[in-house]
Subunit: 339 residues, 2 copies
DNA sequence: TTGTAGGCGTTATCAC
DNA sequence: GTGATAACGCCTACAA
């Protein structure tokens, strides 16, 4: 009852009075078959409501036309949007996307990588570069092409398409220093296993150094992803001895939380304190005051990553190992000069 | 070169000096195997870096422990968040999630349904109820359990877990009428193939009727999903002869767009015009004025849907065909009394 | 252009 | 507890 037999290739073949090989060809290489038999086969297929069995097909053909992607979380709009573009491009090339999420946790990501590979993913899109050598070796041994995104890391022996997190944040920090800010606080995502967050903070430090501002005056607060987390962090950060005149947040969501909390506490932005984000989510231009942030070319990143992966998987050459995309500063109302 | 042979069950068996059957048992029913041989097999597995071949497994076992989900778009946070909960619950039960998106288009959804089924999805999560009989028949014939979410539709012969879109919107509209509003405009998602949008507008009409307000005074503007679309719609709607005193938006994103445009045009919210949304995305409480909206229990919906699907797929009984979840009104600053 | 037949890596049913 | 072995549904040389 549960498994009433589904039609198979053989059923179609019988009905169309041809061999299974011919049916298979109709599906995979239609022009190797004469028009008349093809018609006969095709109508047999629709009459029977036949759908090829994916498992069998994979087993026999050894490729799946499937690309896997692992993102930290679907709840973060920036990944979702990049992935949408990635998927559209894959589809255009006849590939299917398999998504998994890691909840920002390294061991879960490894688990998901194994799962996607065992499901026959022909290639993988991963976010960021921080992961164990072991897992990179595993993928190499399995001959599974990997593209890292959200980072530009020519220093690593991996394909990557993304932007320089360090440089982007440094640029923003320079701007902030120009405005006279010296007491700077940072609300960052956990840097431990997140090289994007780490690099961003690195960018801040580098800018400070260039400006001869001592690192001592830099308060860094690490927290996890979320609006409430941003708000909570703001509470903490605001009470450091020398109150910061600006808070650089590692992403827009943390910044939105910080802004919410500031308002709640009657602290005016940017008059009393400036706040900046990173990502340029839609919400950045909607909140008021509008949020100063760094625009990330998520759609282009997704599309480029898809193209590279398709090329790698189909055995074509890929010129550059790493593609660098530009970010742009979005100076909006939430950043003002220090008084 | 491309496909250096991966270790198979047979390789493991040889190395552990047992039969393939035993290795298979170690993997699937460990306690049917003696501890000593199990240890031997397990170490052989790690030494070889063996991973089971998914395709072969599916072919032989006829089930995939995979549930498919098709959402309109990953870019809409509300779906992404519901899906996250859905996925967590599935994982807890040992199932894997396969996601696809339809771009709000019926024919693409059908295509994706076929794809997921051919990939061996044991069950399917779909959003809303609007789709052809043909596709429902297809799924029934294939014996694939389906759960609809985002809607509560006891009138249909399908499992569903969600809320009553009509009732929820009616409740909000009643509140609005209480505040004295009579000139009402609606910015809705396209209703053509979207029963959630359709039902929401139905709720508005129903409330008007109950209050003896003639439908003539109701302006409905349909548009597609997006902030910019909401802004554009606002421009149009605001210039109807009798300018509305309130605009009900079909979702928070459209509402955010409308608010942005209102500000741009110097129209004050809620003094000059009230605006409401639907979904209660995080942005609803962050924008200012904060957005009056309807809270949707997305996480519970995802979790419940996962549980039902797991039960159906594993052949267990499911008591109720439709589960109704409650929505809650979130009255915030963007809604005021009519002057 | 079409057909034959072997094999892909597992699972599961038997015996032993 | 363990081992043979027959499916599972499709692809793809190789032949015709």
């Amino acid at each position: 009852m549960k498994n009433q037999a589904l039609p198979t290739l053989a059923d179609v073949a019988k009905r169309a009075k041809v061999s299974t090989a011919t049916v298979s060809r109709c599906l995979n290489f239609p022009d190797q078959v004469s028009a008349s038999t093809r018609d006969r086969v095709m109508s047999a297929i629709t009459e029977l409501g036949y759908t090829p069995n994916f498992g069998a097909r994979v087993l026999a053909a050894k490729r799946t036309n499937t690309i896997g992607a692992i993102i930290p979380t679907m709840e973060n709009a920036i990944f979702a949007r990049g992935l949408q573009a990635f998927q559209e491009e894959l589809k255009y090339h006849g590939f299917t996307l398999l998504v998994a999420s890691s909840s920002y946790r390294e061991e879960i990501e490894e688990e998901q990588i194994h799962k996607l590979v065992s499901r026959g993913a022909d290639g993988l899109l991963l976010i960021g570069a921080h992961r164990s050598d072991k897992i990179y070796k595993f993928l190499e041994q399995r001959n599974i092409p990997v593209v890292l995104s959200w980072v530009f890391r020519p220093d690593l022996n991996q394909y990557s398409v993304g932007f320089d997190n360090c440089e982007a944040m440094k640029e923003l920090t320079n701007k902030i220093i120009d405005l006279g800010h010296k007491n700077i606080a940072v609300i960052s995502a956990s840097m431990h296993n997140n090289d994007r967050a780490y690099q961003r903070v690195l960018g801040i430090k580098s800018a400070l150094k260039d400006a001869n501002i001592e690192e001592q005056s830099l308060t860094i607060y690490e927290t996890s992803y979320g609006i409430d987390e941003g708000a909570e962090a703001f509470k903490k950060v605001i009470k450091t001895k020398t109150r910061p005149t600006v808070i650089l947040c590692g992403n827009d969501v943390l910044a939105a939380g910080a802004m919410r909390q500031a308002k709640k506490m009657g602290i005016r932005i940017p008059q009393d304190i400036s706040i900046t984000g990173f990502d340029d989510l839609q919400l950045a231009s909607i909140v008021s005051p509008s949020l100063t942030t760094v625009h990330v070319p998520h759609r282009k990143m997704g599309k480029d990553a898809a193209q590279i992966l398709v090329n790698l998987v189909t055995g074509r050459k890929v010129k550059e190992k790493s593609i660098k995309l530009e970010t742009t500063l979005c100076i909006r109302e939430s950043l003002g000069p220090v008084k």
